[in-house]
Amino acid sequence: MKVHIDSQRCQGHGRCYDLAPGLFGADDEGYSKVLGDGTVPPESGHEARLAVLNCPEHAIEVVEEA
């Protein structure tokens, strides 16, 4: 499972890096970025889901790896 940010939609609300700081960080302008390759460790599944459910711009997805 990986998290993915649509950078066209992200407006820097920062909900994802508030709620899932292990998965997301901020760039110098406050826009979100995925940390590392976005792989969600099993213990971070809930955080990843919170990030998705609280992004006002619907910019975050959790994608199942094939």
Binding site: H13, G14, L53, N54, P56, H58
Partner: protein
């Protein structure tokens, strides 16, 4: 003398007399006959409790109309509010306070207080200048001073049994923080309150009178600009004076317009959010006790207060005549863009009318949606969190001293302006 000084040798406002003047509309006041056809966000009924009005409109007339303010529309469904916020092609931000004055079209895409008043493509670059100063990381630097201020405000309550949490607590927090960031004297706070009220609450006055009321704010800011030119320091005012856009220093009207935005938007919005949250906790003992017992829930609860009591409503102007989502909009019609109404749409939120302090999924729009997302949202969240943390630590027991004495700001920024709380 540097090139930067040359921009402010003369009062830049004197050079604008040949500019297009904008249009004025007739001032209409008095009770609303029907909210679907005659809405007014400056009437006392709206200020006192806008939510039943919005809920009613969402069901029977989801895009309400008014002929006041020269004509405008009020969408109350989340999907319509979001669609307008995202559609900068058809809705302009050249005016964002609904009043009886529409600035001239030539003011776009910059507007009078960039970037909030700006449209693409100018908006992007003007906003980019501000973003680094307002990241979550950058505003963390203000947290220790904010916390100390909150404690000192509570210390000053002394032995009083009843305090006004709006004027003696909530108000001071954003005022001091933004003054520190802009490099303005902290003792000027009381003047800021007057500036805020005259900018945001005098919207239904005749435009000349409104202009006269706003003038002292510009005089103050121009004086601050001169002070910073003579005595540059590490603050946002000096930063804006030195900033460049497209290879040139900013136009003086851009510098002062952005200062207006940062000062006004930074104050009564957060003041309102802090006050509304304390008002809710004062009248809801179960939520108050739970947050005192579970301080770790505060960040989640705070988002719910922002959803349910979103302080900020924006405005837009329709660019061209069009049929939009079932109504015939005309060029220069106002849109009253109610994020509070969007945040209580049952189509978007379960139990939309209830305050659920452990709500886990909360895609609220309190800070707007799309390219105009509040640039100060990280600062506002820090101030709101610290203000509530300190209050709940220091004053875990409190209630409304007199519910009928609570007063709410009229207009586009809503929050308590008088909030007598009984301590203990």
């Amino acid at each position: 003398m540097t090139a930067a000084d040359d921009r402010f040798i003369r009062d830049y406002r004197e050079e604008r007399t040949d500019r297009p003047v904008g249009t004025r509309s007739e001032v209409v006041t008095g009770p609303v006959s029907d909210w679907a056809t005659d809405f007014s966000h400056v009437e006392p009924a709206w200020a006192a409790d806008p939510y039943p009005i919005q809920n009613d409109l969402r069901q029977r007339c989801p895009i309400a109309r008014t002929e006041r303010f020269g004509g405008g529309w009020l969408p109350t469904r989340y999907e319509d509010v979001a669609a307008i916020a995202y559609d900068t092609e058809r809705f302009s931000s050249r005016a964002i306070i609904m009043s009886n004055f529409r600035p001239p079209r030539e003011l776009a895409p910059v507007g009078s207080s960039p970037p909030i008043s700006s449209d693409p493509p100018f908006h992007h670059d003007a906003r980019k200048l501000l973003l680094p100063a307002f990241t979550k990381n950058a505003v963390t630097k203000q947290e220790p001073a904010t916390r100390a201020l909150c404690h000192s405000l509570i210390d000053a309550f002394g032995e009083q049994a009843v305090v006004d949490a709006a004027s003696n607590y909530a108000q001071h927090i954003p005022m001091r923080v933004i003054a520190a960031m802009l490099g303005f004297p902290p003792e000027d706070g009381p003047q800021f309150r007057t500036f805020v009220e005259n900018t945001l609450e005098g919207v239904n006055l005749p435009p000349e009178e409104r202009g006269a009321r706003i003038a002292p704010l510009f005089d103050y800011l121009v004086a601050q600009v001169h002070d910073h030119l003579g005595n540059p320091r590490e603050d946002l005012t000096t930063y804006l004076l030195n900033a460049e856009l497209h290879g040139q220093k900013l136009d003086p009207s851009h510098v002062v317009g952005t200062l207006v935005l940062l000062l006004i938007a930074g104050i009564d919005t957060t003041w309102s959010a802090i006050g509304s949250s304390l008002w809710h906790l004062a009248k809801t003992p179960a939520d108050r006790r739970r947050l005192v017992a579970e301080p770790g829930l505060l960040p989640t609860a705070m988002e719910e207060f922002l959803r349910a009591y979103a302080p900020v409503t924006m405005a837009r102007l329709v660019k061209e005549d069009m049929h939009w989502h079932g109504v015939d909009m005309k060029a220069d019609d106002w849109i009253l863009l109610s994020f509070p109404a969007a945040n209580r749409d049952p189509a978007q939120f379960d139990r939309a009318g209830e305050v659920v302090i452990d709500r886990e999924a909360n895609r609220h729009a309190a800070f707007g949606l799309g390219i105009h997302r509040c640039v100060g949202s990280h600062l506002a969240r820090m101030e709101l969190r610290v203000a509530l943390e300190v209050w709940l630590q220091r004053i875990p027991e409190f209630s409304l001293a007199d519910p009928s004495a609570v007063t709410w700001a009229p207009g586009q920024i809503r929050g308590p302006r008088t909030l007598p709380l009984r301590i203990g």
